[in-house]
Symmetry: C2
Subunit: 394 residues, 2 copies
């Protein structure tokens, strides 16, 4: 069919407030950084930008790992990178599964011909170290893996105790920090994480399209001890680290302008300061929860296990899931996410990530949700705005 190019209009998405599970809104400075002129993949200026980006990433992961870098693939590609570089067919992996992303870890490890031991936990709860300990009894797997921040449920699984268990059983410890990084403390060296990955479009508030990985000494040793080539040329860390390290050996043309944007987003993170950033996420989370609870809604995750940046709230009784989200998007330009997998139709997922973790966004979401639910004839408790304001007032 011939193209009539006049039918293809100027891009014009309009304004969105992205309060779903990600991507979230990108800070204006990141847009400007991405628009800096492209340069070649062997340009000395790019090498400087790459080095600085790695330095900032190490500070963010709180690690000394030399191999800490952005991959030219989204968060799911970060997960694939961690597994495909370290596993060989027949290896055993123990995975804590408390949501969609733990399930995906199992899928990836199985595709690589590995034996997967699943530790299934109720969706919406953290993975208890005791459950991992029980599963590890008598085993010596190659990798023990958990998701730090389960984006599908909003549950936070602490890393330190599970990291110790992994090492006690001679395993490497792998942590998914896609949604946690830059929103809560992620200290991979202190917590014994041997390999971690993360995204750019959650609490870092850069564009989606690349991901972040960090390989510690044990992971590098395992990588170098492989008896087979990494069965994935594109994500092969034995080659990619040669480009990001002093050898500067060409592997593929990286997503150069996306790296500009990532670096700018990381500058914003460190201008604010990590502790201040974590506190901001926590405060706005508490205000949101106070508001939602005042409306009579209940959170999926018990108080002690909640993530601040991803809030799963049970769908209001009598509310229409799709209609509520559709009206929020069409009439107010606000995106929130529905449930995934077994939580489909049961929860809404409200993200307050990075740049978006601001009081004005909490207020608008509470007010708009209230209006939309009332429009559907759903009974909504009063005082949401006041409850949120009380949190900020201390």
């Amino acid at each position: 069919m011939p193209i009539n190019i006049q039918d293809f209009k100027d891009i014009d998405p309009g304004e969105r407030l992205l309060l779903g599970a990600g991507p979230c809104n990108v800070a204006p400075r990141v847009f400007r950084a991405v628009a800096a002129p492209s340069i070649g993949y062997l340009d000395p200026y790019l090498f400087k930008i790459m080095d600085e980006t790695q330095e900032l990433l190490r500070a963010l992961f709180r690690t000394e790992n030399a191999v800490t870098l952005p991959m030219s693939a989204t968060g799911g590609g970060g997960m694939e990178t961690a597994f495909v570089n370290l596993l060989e067919p027949g290896d055993q992996v123990v995975v804590g599964v408390n949501g969609l992303f733990g399930t995906r870890m199992c899928d990836i490890a199985e595709r690589l011909g590995c034996e997967v031991v699943r530790v299934d936990v109720e969706w919406g709860r953290a993975v208890p170290a005791e459950r991992m300990e029980a599963a590890l009894k008598g085993k010596s797997p190659k990798i023990v893996a958990v998701v730090n921040a389960e984006t599908s449920t909003g549950a936070c699984t602490p890393l330190k105790d599970i990291g110790k268990l992994a090492h006690d059983h001679g395993a490497m410890f792998l942590a998914d920090t896609v949604t946690s990084l830059a929103g809560i403390d992620v200290s991979i060296d202190a917590d014994g994480v041997d390999v971690a990955y993360s995204g750019t479009q959650k609490c870092i508030s850069a564009f989606p399209g690349i991901s972040l990985v960090s390989f510690g000494p044990a992971a590098i040793k395992a990588l170098e001890a492989r008896t087979t080539k990494v069965p994935n040329w594109y994500l092969d860390m034995t080659m990619i680290r040669e480009y990001w390290g002093p050898a500067r050996k060409y592997h593929h043309t990286p997503a150069i302008n996306m790296i500009y944007g990532l670096r700018e987003a990381l500058r914003l993170v460190f201008e604010e300061g990590l502790e201040a950033r974590f506190a901001r996420h926590m405060l706005n989370h508490k205000a949101l929860v106070a508001g939602l609870e005042a409306m009579g809604l209940s959170m999926l995750v018990p108080a002690g296990e909640r993530l601040p940046m991803l809030n799963a709230v049970r769908i209001a009784e009598g509310a229409d899931d799709a209609k509520t989200r559709g009206t929020l998007l069409r009439e107010y330009g606000i995106e929130i996410s529905g449930g995934l997998g077994e939580l489909g139709g049961k929860v809404w997922r409200i993200g307050l990530m990075g740049y978006n973790a601001q009081p004005k966004n909490v207020l608008l979401l509470l007010a708009a949700l209230q209006a939309v639910l009332k429009g559907q004839g759903v009974k909504v408790g009063a005082g949401a705005i006041e409850a949120a304001a009380a949190v900020w007032a201390g």
Copy 2:
């Protein structure tokens, strides 16, 4: 080490004229499109943009293939996508190898546990159909693969005859069109290509970071007939096509703003028109070659086998390879590429891709190269500018 964020300055790469092997310069309108607000991965507006992008891509590949879409990975990831989805361990692949990217195809297929039959051809030459025919005698491989435009050498291998040979031997035909697409005619349906991939940062002149793939009916049939899951979750086309097709099933968050940019670059392609674009590439290529030859330099690839967008020229006698490229970059802001692999130190690779295939760039490159070589005491023939101008004058 604590971060002193004041040490990390504003991004400021300065201006570059990217006349290497890619990435090339991005058209101003593409920068603006990328800076449009981010939206969610299930936003109806994004679905419209995705559909339009697919329609434009089909017109560019000249195909009816429904599964024609951008992957969230660079050109090398496009190559990986084509192979990993169609091959299973033990499958046989026949690969024409006339440069680095053919070599990479073999590497990828071997990592997937396949038997690779290499048809090695001198770097700098096209892959002759007769050589492929001889290699195919008595064989019935799963895939026959060639690189349409060898970025490492500048040689163009025509597709049609090799496509017919592949089908005569019951194989699928795979073509790498990373550097050719949008610069010369790429008609995958007419040429019998069953699976193709391409880049965005060559003749399309969008940002690096994503790639383009097209799977035809035979490839889809092979995908559906697999006896094992695709051993790569991230690039699994059985799932990715469910997101890009009517089911809109979530797989991963795509590189949303990069898709905006790709669509804008494709709009520019079709505003110009394919035939006009191909003619522009050819004319400026001829002018460049006339100028280089007037300077006494000789092209690596014989005249009938040359690509217009990637010009490999033998390094001038007495010239210092690295010094020449370094001086061009530092003093004139012009990037050209050195040789790769066995051509390292032997050729320069000069790209005239997409937005960059303009007379002013040809003139500046010829003039600057002349100045740099003369500065090294290299003897350079006169009349380069005049020779190029004569080509444009007809």
